[in-house]
Amino acid sequence: MEYIIQTKNLSKKFGKELAVNGVDIRIAKGEIYGFLGPNGAGKSTTIRMLLGLMKPTSGKVAIFGKDLKSERINILKKVGSLVENPSYYPHLTAKENLEAIRKIVGVPKTRIDEVLKTVRLQDAANKKVKGFSLGMKQRLGIATALLNKPELLILDEPTNGLDPSGIIEIRELIKSLPEKYGMTILISSHLLSEIDQIATTVGIITKGKMIFQDSIEEMRMFARQYIKLKVSQHEHAWRTLLASGMKAELEDGHILLSDQTDQHVAEAVQLLVQQGISIYRVEEDKKSLEDIFLQMTKEELAG
């Protein structure tokens, strides 16, 4: 398998603290890789090392199959990035900001209008970025990252500080890039919900360690489902179910059935009705990915 990004045992020490600890990232071509972790988990440090802004204490980074240390310039020619808070020159307009970068990456001037259009900033093109809202600055940051038509796009918290409509807009934009331009994308966030709907692969990092890395489907498997019953006399109902050999849990006055086959649910309901217990609700209770994410990162903290 050929990976666009592959790190081996990537580590970074700040003094005694291991900010990134033996991380192996593998991102295949065309993926949208969601890089998740709580604040301070080591996401930005990892991303900085991927871009050569910071030197790893140990470990290796290969991008496009080339060693980052020896071929940094050639690699970065094909990479677009947005690291943490959007970077910009406050005294320049949006267009001028892009022009300053364009001179270095050497793409035609028409590209500026193209990327401004892509992030829908055409109307603010000639305004000083100083006065931009955070959302506009983020969009300008993404426009800058897209300027050189990168094969790999690295976006660190691109939806940070955006309002819901802004988040959806950016999400749609990012989602469209791999099909349209064949880009591979690494997008980091501390909120799973933000990349839940776009990522194809997920890597979860906490306390500098990668604790999960697989497809998003694989992660969804962790989402255990229950049938949740709201009944009268829940204590009595629960005992009745247990007594007849059904698996059930009592939680916050609700009964949770882990076996969700139609037949099983029907049996349970029938049994309870026969016992004269009123059933108010029968619903499916899906654990959100957010819960799993929290659970995973918490378990790691506890362990």
């Binding site: 808070n85 959007p86 910009y88 970068i101």
Partner: protein, 243 residues
């Protein structure tokens, strides 16, 4: 590297602070026009009179101070909103970025020097000097002042990258520049004080045996030596700076 230079110039050109380039030469012009010209005697060229006066204020104070401010300016917008990380995540090396910023500063100082040359000439024309313009001497002075500023610019660039604040490098600059007025009057310290070199190398009354107004060994050791130290320190610091 040309691409980076164009980008740097673009960023600087769009900031209003660029007008600071005109401050030094304008002050020179002002001093030359308003000051009571010292009587240089019959034997000497008339042009020497404004040259002495203008050079003193310009070379001891304004040239070093303004080159320092310029260094801060071209680092300021990188510090402000994450410019460094954006710039260094592009396909550029840190070495080239540092070199380009330095090169731009040195070119700007040369530009200031040429404006100053214009100011000198304007003073003479306005005052109606009849003596021939001492072109060779003045050129030596202009180029000499430029060369002498190179180490100071290197130091200021280093400090401006090091400190996020605008004030810190400026304060250092002022602290070292002010004693120049004393240093140039001291035969013992003057030749060894890097901040005094712009004045010494622009001092048209100096010895003309050498190419510039100071001896070669002083030029090489004091100007060249301080340039090497400041430039290398800045260069190495920038290579290692965590972004």
């Amino acid at each position: 590297m040309l691409a980076i230079l164009q980008s740097e110039w673009f960023k600087l050109r769009k900031s209003k602070i660029i007008l600071i380039l005109f401050v030094g030469p304008l002050i020179g012009l002002f001093i030359g026009l308003t000051g009571n010209l010292i009587d240089v005697g019959e034997q000497m060229n008339q042009w020497y009179s404004p040259l002495f006066m203008m050079n003193f204020t310009y070379a001891t104070l304004f040239l070093p101070l303004i080159s320092g401010v310029l260094a801060s300016v071209i680092c300021r917008y990188e510090h402000q909103e994450g410019g460094w990380k954006q710039l260094l995540a592009l396909p550029v090396t840190r070495g080239k970025v540092f070199l380009t910023k330095y090169l731009l500063l040195v070119l700007l100082v040369l530009f200031i020097q040429i404006l100053y040359l214009g100011a000198i000439y304007a003073v003479g024309v306005i005052k109606g000097f009849t003596d021939p313009f001492p072109l060779t001497i003045v050129w030596k002075s202009i180029i000499g002042g430029w060369v002498a500023t190179m180490p100071l610019v290197a130091l200021q660039l280093w400090l401006s990258i090091l400190f996020k604040s605008f004030a810190a490098p400026f304060a250092v600059n002022v602290i070292f520049t002010l004693p120049t007025i004393l240093a140039v009057n001291s035969e013992r310290f003057g030749p060894y004080y890097p901040w005094a070199q712009p004045f010494s190398m622009m001092y048209v009354g100096g010895s003309t045996d050498d190419v510039f107004f100071i001896p070669w060994d002083q030029l090489l050791t004091v100007v060249g030596g301080s340039f090497l130290i400041f430039f290398l320190c800045g260069y190495i610091y920038f290579q290692r700076k965590p972004i």
